[in-house]
């Protein structure tokens, strides 16, 4: 595994300085991990536009706020639209040193926020859209979203989800936006370098962050990073960047283009209670899904 590129960009020492103690996240929550990386890159110059999601609660109660950055809380379907407005106002006022970041979960992105997201992407608004993907409606108590993977238990798919996960990053690539990346809280250096790259690109930038959720996925809180890494090591979650019409596999995922190097998907699945009813047939289907995704990656990165 190379990983050379990301090691050149260490996280600054004050990465934790702006995500303050006393947030309301569950034990083992991946969200503060990702927020710390975002803070390390953008600091107090971030304007986070946050629709209804776990982060609406995690950031704490009025008049307090567990992050030292600007935050605009907005209705569920509107993150990309409000962010567009903020960005255009800053442009109109000649303000260039603030970064407008839509920070939304998978429900607010892949489901209810999809129209606004697609509109903002098509208009190539100058915003960074970060989708942190915990693969279900966790804030309302684990209901399925279109980003929930096949086979996963949720309270609205008690026998497991039938459909495959919606691939939002691919949808954004199809919009022809300047920058699309996938990332994971298991690899903060990778996320850091991608945010740094995004910071220096103008126009619509989309970053899809895989974020394992202990209570929602039914695993012990100490395994968050382990589950996140296993998703990458089994080849289920692939880290890449799409920039200037070119797809580049990211360091942590590079070894797994070779199927022989991938860990068995069972290792990922058996750690999580949400997959406890998964059958042999379904595991085979999941393996096929992994192969198809890699096939697409190979085709795109040629």
């Amino acid at each position: 595994m190379s990983g050379v590129e990301t090691r050149k960009l260490p996280l600054p020492h004050d990465a934790r300085g702006r995500v303050l103690p006393g947030d309301a996240a569950c034990p083992g929550c991946p969200i503060p991990i990702a927020l710390k990386v975002v803070s390390a890159v953008f600091g107090e110059k971030a304007i986070l536009v946050i629709p209804a999601c776990c982060t609406s609660v995690i950031l704490g109660t009025y008049p307090g706020q567990a992050i030292k950055a600007s935050v605009v809380h907005v209705p569920f379907a509107s993150a990309a639209a409000v962010a567009s407005g903020v960005s255009q106002a800053l442009r109109s006022r000649g303000i260039k040193d603030a970064y407008v970041i839509a920070w939304a979960g998978d429900g607010g992105t892949a489901d209810i926020g999809m129209a606004a997201l697609s509109g903002a992407a098509e208009r190539n608004e100058d915003i960074i859209y970060i989708m942190y993907d915990n693969e279900a409606y966790m804030n309302t108590g684990i209901q399925r979203s279109s980003s929930t993977p096949k086979g996963a238990w949720t309270t609205t798919t008690p026998t497991g989800k039938i459909e495959n996960k919606k691939d939002v990053a691919r949808i954004l690539i199809a919009h022809g936006v300047p920058y699309v990346a996938t990332s994971s809280i298991g690899y903060p250096h990778d996320l850091y370098s991608k945010l740094q790259r995004a910071k220096n690109i103008e126009g619509f930038r989309f970053i899809h962050v895989h974020a394992p959720c202990p209570p929602g996925w039914r695993f012990e809180p100490q395994y968050t990073v382990r589950v996140a890494k296993l998703a990458v090591e089994t080849g289920l979650w692939i880290l890449y960047e799409y920039h200037n019409g070119k797809l580049t596999l990211s360091g942590p995922s590079r070894p797994y283009i070779d199927p022989a190097k991938r860990k068995p998907v069972e290792e990922y699945i058996k750690l999580q209670g949400r997959f406890r009813a998964v059958t042999e047939d379904l595991i085979n289907e999941i393996k096929k899904y992994v192969d198809e995704n890699w096939h697409w990656i190979k085709k795109m990165s040629q």
Binding site: T61, V71, A81, G85, V86, A89, R93
Partner: protein, 394 residues
Amino acid sequence: MGLKLALTGNHAIAYAVKLADPDVIAAYPITPQTPIVEKLAEMIEQGELRAKMIRVESEHSALAACFGAAVAGARTFTATSSQGLLYMHEFVHWVSRARIPVVMAIVSRTINTPWNIWPDHSDFVDQRDAGWVMSYAMDSQEAFDLTLQAFKISEDPRVYLPVMIGIEGFIIGHTAMPVEIPDEKQVKEWLGERRQPYVIDGSEPLGLGGLTFPEDTEDMFYHIQEAMGNVKKVIKEVDEEYGKLFGRRYGGLISCYNCTDAKYIAVSMGAWSGDLIEAVNKLRDEGYPVGVLRVRYYRPFPIEDVWEIVQNVKGIVVFDRSISFGAWGQIYTDLAAGLSLYTDKLPRMANIVAGIAGVNVTSEDFYGMLKSFIDKSESGLLDRNYFTWIKIRR
């Protein structure tokens, strides 16, 4: 003295927006509002207007984008109608509760289904509980003046609430009349720079709208009700200033016609007030002591002004161009509820709902309805208040 142009209500609003010099406009097309945003887009592309235009993918996003832009320090405008207004309704509440000045034009069209593009007031009055200052014009000139004044009122520190201006689609929206456009420099001086209670632009970390406990939230909503009290004063001040500078005064939250010695008052809002005034002229010629009270601002509801006019009258007829199904017309409901706080001896009252879904109501219709009410009232045939939905068929 400024320029005089023949303008439809829609274009009059666009010209007023141009003079207000907004930073950001976000809009989505819908009949019968579309000519407003088309005109604004044209002005921007011809370099007459420096605003950024966000051509969003829905009305929900239109007001969302205006909200974001306003929060970040921009003067903003949007316009919509009917289904579009309902689609953005979530944000109608969101904007006022955030106390962020935004101006929006509503070109009224009834609410569907069935598909129907003709006007009544149902889309406009549907927003009455949302915390916006709500004005309604009677013609293109007033639409122009109300739009320009909306920016001033919205950005007054005693107010800091969004403002909407209503006109009827087609009747006003697509019908031209001469509209006087004041001098740009003079308007700029009067309107001043953008003012708002807070700005989120990265200059300092600031949070807006995070999780808030009941007592604090109730406090915030209570302040909106308080601000609505201030609005009444500000509207009158602005009306007076505007009159001095640009030559047109309307009298504030209501406008009265032949009310001084009237024993009967007809209450209305919007374009059909013109037909009502014609009917009153005819009735006056026949010796009926009747006047018209026109609601110019529906929120805050001008109950003090209404009370001043009606405290000694024998009867009030409220004409509503919208209906709260299972109850009554909304203006009547507000007016009757409001008057009950002032007196335990209400005058004889009638609520007539008409002109729903664009059905045309003429001055002859008004003449008939008013005459019947007054005659019956005078001859003691009306022993109680009444509500009726008049369906006019020709």
